[in-house]
Symmetry: C2
Subunit: 178 residues, 2 copies
DNA sequence: CTTTTATATAGGATTAATCTAATATTAGCA
DNA sequence: TGCTAATATTAGATTAATCCTATATAAAAG
């Protein structure tokens, strides 16, 4: 599971609690990349400890629940590096809109166009979100190795949205002039 | 759930058994659009009957298990048409490769490039699959309404793969000349 | 003075997807 | 003669994702 390895990757950069992972990683930079909710993160941390890939120091606090700070073990780092090099199968994308379009023949043209326009708006919004993330551009000589890789990931996210927007426009046109 | 509505859409074109749905729809034209396995299809058919959206005629066969032929009810058609017009949320795409790239900083360049090349090959393969599906092109005046819509869906699938391939080439280049 | 936000974790429940095995018969192939 | 593929359905099990609730307290906001 990639979530486990994403968590290993994050903990390797810095030891953290489940709460930290959620609020400063999965709600921020990784949000558009690999969404995960609190329950998933805590349960995955438990599994990582079971596997021996992370350890957990409990910091006792009187005023609130104890903090459990997780860090990666040697075995965890080995596992991460090994996983990073394994070819992963292409994800299966299930797109409700495509099912709708596939069976839309009995809808009037305006109804189909309305559907496509709603998607177009949603895609524009997502593109704007991606573009608001600040990272050095690809040509930038001062960018670190990490930054280049993160930029590449962001670059795909942006291109993906642009492809959608383009296609939606083509589709609206095709249905209009049909 | 879109699977239920995809099945309604298919049954509306023609009444069918669960086996037919699997072998002549979900393994063929819908395969790259909404993969579904046999267990899911049968269970969804049960749910559709419960909901009153389909009915089921049992054809008794002596030599093999009875065929259960499903067809859509009035209520089912109403439900489908209503669903076809509802804005669906954008799917969340979880791409293991992006997690890998995001944390790939400690890998040597050749390892990263190898990973990207494997993806490139897989994407080329998928693109070829999409391109092998025969449907009238978008400009074709003789195309039916159904065919135009199906062409549009296919068009997106193709563009999606092309975007990937382009991006993978850029990424390989960026890492090489880093 | 009350409500919200932040800190921090645990665990039950549900849905969707995937895998697996069981059942039963015919037809074709080697 | 024995094996495999095709036809057709049922059901158990597991994993992943999502939601929701519970617990506990401090600080800030209104």
């Amino acid at each position: 599971m990639s979530l486990a390895h994403a968590i290993l990757g994050l903990l390797q950069q810095e030891e953290m609690t489940g709460y930290d992972l959620k609020t400063s990683c999965f709600d921020q930079c990784i949000a558009h990349l690999w969404p995960a909710d609190q329950a998933q993160i805590y349960r995955t941390l438990d599994k990582l400890v079971e596997q021996g890939w992370t350890t957990c120091k409990v910091e006792i606090q009187r005023d609130r629940p104890n903090r459990k700070v997780y860090s990666v073990t040697e075995a965890g780092i080995a596992e991460l590096i090994q996983w990073l090099q394994c070819h992963q199968p292409l994800p299966k994308v299930r797109e409700p809109l495509l099912i709708q379009l596939f069976f839309a023949a009995q809808l009037p043209n305006e109804a189909i166009i309305q559907l496509l326009k709603q998607q177009l708006a949603a895609r524009h919004e997502k593109l704007a979100e991606c573009e608001s993330i600040e990272l050095p551009t690809l040509g930038d000589q001062s960018a670190s190795r990490e930054q280049i890789l993160q930029r590449l990931v962001l670059e795909l996210a942006i291109r993906r949205e642009e492809t959608y927007i383009d296609w939606l426009k083509t589709a609206i046109d095709a249905i209009r002039h049909q």
